[in-house]
């Protein structure tokens, strides 16, 4: 249909009607939209059930990382200071979250399911150096739990590390 002279006037009616409709903005801090079950948020290091860390410091994650933001310095497990389940453990394990692109390659590369990407995305800091997360920060549980969308709706396979230890 070619434009008719009164189409602009009808446009005024459209904008006037929108005043009486409810806005579709979601007000963020009061309402947080649920993330999908496989959302790639902040990294988490995992532990075995007996308290030993799963990470052995093989640094396959650091090799896989496209942004080169993981720093792994391994050390040997001694008899009286045993941290992980293998021969060595990661003495220093740091991720620079200002470089990380949250692609999930480290999670795919890890042979022990030690590192996964969780659901936390509220990672703002005031100082740039505070964004370099050390091992104990990565081991910790997230401070705030993000609402997660219903896994049954999304046909998500349960990852191996969630059911096995």
């Amino acid at each position: 249909m070619s434009p008719q002279p009164f189409d602009s006037v009808k446009g005024f009616g459209v904008t006037f009607r929108q005043i009486f409709r409810k806005p579709i903005t979601q007000q963020y801090p009061e309402y947080k939209r649920p993330v999908y079950p496989r959302f790639r948020g902040r990294h988490r290091l995992h532990l075995h059930e007996n308290g030993l860390e799963k990470c052995v410091g093989c640094s396959l994650c650091a090799a896989a990382c496209p942004a080169d933001c993981i720093r792994v310095v391994p050390a040997e497990n001694t008899a009286d200071h045993r941290v992980s389940a293998g021969e060595r453990y990661a003495r220093i394990y740091e991720i620079n979250l200002s470089r990380c692109i949250f692609c999930g390659y480290c999670e795919l590369a890890c042979p022990f399911d030690a590192i996964t990407l969780g659901n936390e995305f509220e990672l703002s800091e005031y100082v740039r150096d505070d964004l370099i997360y050390t091992k104990d920060m990565l081991l910790a549980e997230p401070i705030k739990q993000m609402p997660v969308a219903d896994a049954a709706l999304y046909d998500t396979p349960i990852p191996y590390y969630k059911t096995h230890s």
Binding site: S8, G11, V14, T15, F16, R21, P23, T25
Partner: protein
């Protein structure tokens, strides 16, 4: 001149522009809220309840900003340009009557700051001086975008000034006076001039939207076209002054439309200034509604509309009004 004592006039002259500035601040709030509701989103609602403190937050931010200037900018005109624009915009509001005049305690208080017998010509003259602010601002900024933007702005403003003046001519003939007070009184006595002067009203609205650089005629401010036109190189409160000039021009034009066509402060059982404010708010809402609904006009479409459409219509309206006024 009326019998108002000089210090009552002085107090009125101090209060009304300050109320105008408060009205400007809350016009920005009103525009952001109404525009956003038409676009299915909330406006500012974080600063204070319903965002009511937002204008003050914006003002504080602008005052804190670094007021840089291009190194080759011509210093004095660069600083004076926004001042001239804002000054003439605020001054043009001072002749608009918002009430019938009151007698308090034996002192007469006028319904406007200054009752000038050629008030209408004064308003248009001040508008033309305001155009100087835009020209000088763009030229003194020593930047290509500013110069082009200000040239286009001033061509647009000058073109539509002619149409506005002719559209208002019909009202002047019917009101038999150039003074806004007399025109409002005539409307109270006979009929609101919007009904006989409907064509003039329509031309006034369209030319008025173009005069104040509001959408859909806001090509000088279109960021995709000219970065920001004449106020590209202004920051902080200097830019705030240009915005103030634009919004106060919008408020003054709405007030002028209310005064000339919609009967000023006349209305049943509520006091005069309240009706004036209601009609003014309605008009400003119409400006915002127009902004939300229409796409921007291209520069040649804008010029064509001003010279080839509005000017003949306004001229014919004035001629027909003149014939009817003489023969009826």
């Amino acid at each position: 001149m009326s019998e108002e004592t000089w210090w009552v006039g002085l107090i009125e002259a101090l209060i009304v522009p300050n109320l105008l500035l408060l009205a400007f601040a809350y016009t920005t709030w009103f525009e952001r809220k109404l525009l956003s509701r038409m676009q299915l989103r909330y406006g500012p609602n974080r600063a204070g309840k319903f965002g009511l403190v937002q204008p003050f937050a914006d003002m504080i931010k602008l005052l804190y900003k670094e007021a840089f200037a291009p190194s080759d900018a011509i210093r004095m005109p660069y600083i004076l340009a926004p001042i001239v624009s804002a000054f003439t915009a605020i001054l043009a509001f001072s002749v608009i009557p918002f009430g019938p005049g009151w007698t308090i305690d034996g002192y007469t208080v006028q319904g406007e700051v200054a009752d000038v017998s050629i008030a209408l010509i004064l308003v248009f003259a001040l508008g033309s001086i305001g155009v100087y602010g835009f020209i000088v601002g763009g030229w003194a900024s020593d930047s290509k975008y500013s110069l082009l933007g200000s040239m286009r702005t001033c061509a647009q403003l000058v073109s539509y000034e002619v149409s506005i003046a002719l559209a208002v001519l019909g009202v002047v003939m019917m009101g038999q006076s150039l003074s806004l007070v007399d025109i409002v009184d005539k409307q109270g006595a006979t009929i609101w001039f919007v009904i006989p002067q409907l064509v003039g009203f329509a031309v006034f609205i369209v030319a008025g939207v173009a005069e104040t650089n509001r959408a859909p005629f806001d090509l000088p401010e279109a960021e995709t076209e000219l970065v920001a036109g004449y106020h590209t190189e202004y920051s902080g409160m200097r830019w705030g002054l240009f915005q103030m000039a634009e919004y106060i021009n919008m408020i003054t034009l709405s007030a002028l439309a209310v005064t000339l066509f919609l009967g000023g402060w006349h209305g049943p059982w509520l006091p005069g200034p309240i009706w004036f404010l209601i009609k003014l708010a309605l008009f400003v809402a119409v400006f915002i509604w127009i902004r939300a609904s229409l796409p921007r006009l291209r520069y040649d479409q804008l010029m064509r509309l001003g010279w080839k459409v509005l000017l003949p219509v306004a001229t014919i309206n004035a001629v027909i009004t003149a014939l009817l006024v003489v023969w009826i």
